[in-house]
């Protein structure tokens, strides 16, 4: 199983073991260089309430020192990654990219959404802090029983948090139970006895809960869709899709004008064929407004073209606002402008 590979840590040197040694040849040049464009420009760890970076995505990290004594939790960002310069030195990089990419991304996600996410992440960190500490302590002490109870306590804290914040979660398109489930999935996916977690902490100094936190942050970001869940941020970047609610197809007909909304794929073919059967019998020109369609697959287009063909005698079929990506694909499909014109 492949997981999202990313390194969210503010203290990269500690994590160096997790990374394969890089090509030593790169280190040969000792020349001075300008700072990398993706360097995180903010002081770390972040102060509570940090808001200067619009993309800031808080991750509360619990860690222990080499004597297994717990350290104060500190605030990192889930976008923090480990960059390595030409001379082999490490620096804290932003996996979103340079200032331009960061600004574009923030604009796309919208400040309001980012803010809701931050509020949730911080709230979650606050209510679960003691339970998380208990899990870390149990892991360090290799006390399996305590660990299990600490773990279920943490699960309960997360669950009640999700219930209390269900409206916020829903405004992000996330079902509260989905959020709580992330915890269960994480512990199951690790299948790692707490004793082993404890050893891991001792050996590498890494925080056993880091993965959980990333996962919860991901659940927040990624909403319902499981593919999106793995893919990363809750960015609605499907060309024109406005929200996850765009799955499926809505059909709104008035006189000789039919408006389609949503996405046309294999799951919508039957619905669209039904519309085509009715529309084939209409007299006069028929306008299909595809302006609200954020995706249309080739099969969907084929149904529309067949409809144009079927009602050739009765009137024209006019396709309005064909999705851009499909319009671009038409020539490759052998439906160039000429054949479209003859079809409409």
């Amino acid at each position: 199983m492949t997981e999202v590979i990313r390194s969210p840590y503010a203290q990269p040197a500690r994590e160096s073991r997790a990374f394969p040694a890089e090509d030593q040849g790169l280190n040969a040049s000792g020349s001075a260089q300008s700072p990398a464009v993706d360097r995180c420009p903010y002081p770390r760890p972040f102060d509570p309430g940090f808001r200067r970076c619009p993309n800031f995505h808080p991750v509360h990290v619990l860690s222990a020192d080499s004597n297994n004594s717990g350290l104060n939790p500190y605030l990192a960002c889930s976008h923090l990654a480990q960059g390595r310069n030409e001379r082999g030195g490490y620096y804290a990089s932003c996996e979103l990219g340079g200032p331009r990419e960061r600004a574009e991304l923030a604009a796309r996600i919208t400040p309001a959404r980012l803010d809701t996410e931050r509020t949730l992440l911080e709230g979650l960190a606050a209510v679960s802090e003691s339970a998380r500490e208990a899990v870390v302590a149990a892991a360090l002490a290799s006390e399996a029983t305590d660990g299990a109870s600490a773990q279920s306590e943490l699960g309960a804290a997360i669950e009640s948090f999700a219930t209390q914040n269900r409206h916020r979660l829903q405004s992000l398109g996330i079902a509260p139970d989905r959020f709580a489930r992330a915890f269960a999935e994480w512990t199951k996916a690790r299948q790692m006895p707490l004793a082993r977690l404890g050893r891991m902490v001792q050996e590498t100094g890494s925080d056993p809960l880091r993965g959980l936190w990333i996962r919860l942050a991901s659940a927040l970001e990624e909403g319902e869709a499981s593919a999106g869940e793995a893919a990363g941020r809750a960015i609605d970047c499907t060309t024109t899709a406005s929200s996850p609610g765009d799955a499926g197809l809505e059909i709104e007909a008035a006189a000789n004008r039919v408006r389609l909304r949503g996405q046309i794929d294999r799951d919508a073919w039957e619905q669209l064929s039904g519309l085509a059967v009715m529309a084939a019998a209409l007299d006069g020109d028929l306008i299909l407004d595809l302006g609200g369609v954020s995706f249309c697959d080739v099969g969907g287009l084929r149904i529309l073209l067949a409809l144009a063909e079927a009602r050739r005698e009765r009137g024209a079929l006019i396709l309005e606002s064909v999705p851009e990506e499909l319009a671009r694909a038409l020539p490759a499909l052998g439906w160039n402008d000429g054949s479209m014109a003859s079809a409409s």
Binding site: M1, T2, E3, V4, I5, R6, P20, L96, G97, E101, R108, E222, A225, S226, A227, G228, E229, A230, A231, G232, R233, A234, I235, C237, T238, T239, A241, P244, A247, G248, Q263, D265, R266, D267, F295, D297, V298, G299, R302, L305, A306, E309, E324, E325, L326, R328, A329, A332, L333, G334, W335, N336, S339
Partner: protein
Amino acid sequence: MSLQLAGGAGGAAPFGYRHDALFYGTANESAELIARFLRAGLNQGQPALAVIAPQQIERVRSRLGSNASRVEFADMRVVGDNPARIIPLWQEFLDRNQGRAVRGVGEPIWAGRALDELRECQIHEDLLNRAVPAQTPFWLVCPYSVSELNPEVIRRARLCHSDAHLGGEHGGGGSGGGDQDSSLAPFAAELAEPPPEASVVDLRPSSLFDLRRGVSLAAARWGLNGPRISDLVLATNEVATNCQQHGQGLSGARIWSASGRLVCEVRGPGSLNDPLAGRRRPSPGLGSGRGLWLANHLCDLVQVMARDGDIVVRLHMRMV
């Protein structure tokens, strides 16, 4: 290096499809041999198309002199960037000259091809033997640089070509050394796992919508630009739809970014029925079979692996 390309088949005797490799040392040598091959065809009134590198087009042109205008040239770096787009070009050339004896030169493999591309080029060369009916009077020569290419590549080339060094020896209608029965075998060649430094996202899609969303999220995050995201999303959707329609659904999907490329992989149980799927221009009508064709035109490289009852399709997008 000597060669008797100009001899052999041709003249009044109709010949069938012939697919030769031309192993050359230097670019000038290759240009000289290509020019001779084309000139011999022109002397017999045979139309010709050469799909080679731009510098090579110039060298051949200058050697052909006034005859150069009678040969069609195309830039292999453009046409063959995705090797799956080459067969349609030959197909179109053959359709245009139906019934006439024709000659072609195609150099899809050059030093510097990425490994992934190389695999697809080799599949392409194998498929050419399948795509062109044996009785087609088409003499195709594929130049290979023995000085620049890996010996293994040359060895593979010998397997699916007649060797032009053997001179006028004519393989009948037997389309080079290609074995018709094993023409699905090239798709069984293993695809390498993503490199260890790649960021891999396992998508585990629960629906096509879900898959599109995941692909689009990851592609945006890795900085693919807008229209290319839409292309990748559409291509992935069509390939996945094929899996659902013709196979038994999707068993997985993942996407990664490595060496300046974004690769989206879709996987499902099934087998490849038509080795030429995606390489035949769809008719403008309403027939099906457009998924891989579209993917080949939207993406920079499309890889298909069919083995052990599974089909894996990888769609590559170059990050510019």
